[in-house]
Amino acid sequence: MPGPIDLIIWSLGTAFELLFVVCSLARKSFLRYFFLNLYLLLSTTVSIGRFFILRSYGQCSVQYMYFYYYSDALLTLALFVALISLYSHVFGELRVGDYVRWGAVFLLLGTAGFSYAVVAQSAERLSTSFAYELSQNLYFVGLVLTYILWGAVMKLRETRTRLVQIILSLGLYFSGYAASYALMNFSGEFSIIRYICPALGCFLPLSWSLTMLRYTDESRLAPASLVAVPR
């Protein structure tokens, strides 16, 4: 079993995931942010499943490993769909919904094709390697997509506070993971950095919950100071 710090962070993260769903329901925004709720509900379910498997078989067991990596692929896919739904929110007024959907489908197929090409040479456990590779590649695709979305938010001067904060949190979350991944490559798995990844897992649902609690759909950011244009 993992240590007490790991367990505390894990249970806090799962509680925050549920908190977001509860906040969405309380604020009557469940359907508006349906895919974000779906992702966090799925994540909560997976977290509970992982806990029972870990308790039954142990952290170093093959059962936990398989369940972890297959569920991680599923969650990354759900996160990808949630991210695309944020694109639909941002670009909704421009009526480019079809364009976004086609782009998402091409991107998903491209990532799946690339992942398959990487693992196609594998002689055994093709499906496990594919799930693992797809999850890792989709993560990086999500990272790039979030930065592009943030650029679009800046360019379109988006003022919907909730949407802006949700996207900003997602950007920080992805950036934090990318940074910790790079640091772990230098420092190894058994340093203090190993606690950063689980802590980041708590950050996203907590920040989304706070956004949901503090702002309504009508909340708008104060416009930037007007630039004086000489006549």
């Binding site: 993260g13 972890y68 991680d72 991107l107 055994e124 990086f140 990272l143 992805f174 490559n185």
Partner: protein
């Protein structure tokens, strides 16, 4: 049709960019796994890929 083509080109650009970032970040990789979902503890690394022998 041109919009679909534009979406395809954009998707390919994003994919290339994403894989570029992955390559840069894992240039000194010790086989570290990128975990992006939830605060659960990491399991043992997945089985190593063994390349099929071509005859």
């Amino acid at each position: 049709m041109s919009r679909k083509l534009g979406a395809l080109v954009l998707a390919l650009g994003i994919l290339v960019g994403a894989m570029g970032i992955k390559t840069v970040l894992s240039s000194n990789s010790k086989g570290t796994t990128m975990k992006a979902n939830g605060p659960a503890p990491l399991p043992i690394p997945p089985p190593k890929q063994t390349t099929a022998q071509s005859n």
